[in-house]
Symmetry: C2
Subunit: 130 residues, 2 copies
DNA sequence: CAGGATCCCAAGCGATACTG
DNA sequence: CAGTATCGCTTGGGATCCTG
């Protein structure tokens, strides 16, 4: 993850710290549920229950948990309407939208290489027990 | 993950299967170690032990396990030199390199939003126990 | 050196019940 | 409706030992 670890003075501790932080952020964001939520939010505003339906397969717990992390990192914005019953809406922040662009790239990649990957898997599996 | 789930006939089972496959591929590839390995391979050819050193924090087991998955999906290519001791080299395939481009995007995003995210976290944490 | 197999613990996650 | 808390299973993944 180093921006470029070429020749860095050992006393340059800030760069090291930044690297490990970037790494921590990267691995935090690069998780199944985070990416799926980001992907599904696109540029819409969705309520908690709508997200729950759209993400498919995610549990109540994981949804809240992941949303909290994303909110904390400033990737999604959370709006609470003080009505009864409560209405809570989620949308991507600017940072979130820029992240989503790269996530879309991964989704596109998955779709684009579907057949190629499936073929590769068959080849691989056939070879194994050979 | 739907390419566009607008109006799809129920009998169009192929598209549904493709979607779930794309989803499975996406969540398979979008895992911490997979992405870090792809990131570290860039356009180099690395040996098993070199990868082990470069990925930092990965265990022997996770490295082999993840490499197998990536090889099976045709993302990395594995070359075994029948020497003694054995020499095994890994490099990205064409598909792998195109995936790496989007992974790079996520890494760049992490680095670019470092301070913004850190600030957001502090704000969030301060608010909480308020 | 590459990597399979085994053991085992801790984290991830789901299910359920409860609150505002 | 949105969210927290608790419990328990399941899994990920580390440590270690063994083979070609």
């Amino acid at each position: 993850m180093g921006s470029e670890q070429a020749g860095r003075a050992p006393e340059d501790a800030d760069a090291v710290r930044a690297d490990s932080l970037a790494r921590e952020i990267f691995t935090g964001v690069a998780s199944k549920w985070s990416l799926l939520i980001i992907e599904v939010l696109r540029d819409r505003t969705l309520r908690f229950s709508e997200l729950r339906d759209e993400v498919e397969g995610i549990s109540h717990k994981m949804l809240t948990q992941t949303l909290r992390r994303l909110e904390r990192d400033g990737v999604v914005h959370r709006t609470v309407h003080p009505t009864v019953p409560p209405r809570v809406e989620y949308r991507l922040t600017d940072a979130g939208r820029s992240l989503r662009d790269t996530v879309n790239g991964m989704c596109a990649w998955s779709r684009m290489h579907l057949d190629e990957i499936e073929a590769s898997r068959h080849r691989f599996d056939a070879q194994q027990h050979a």
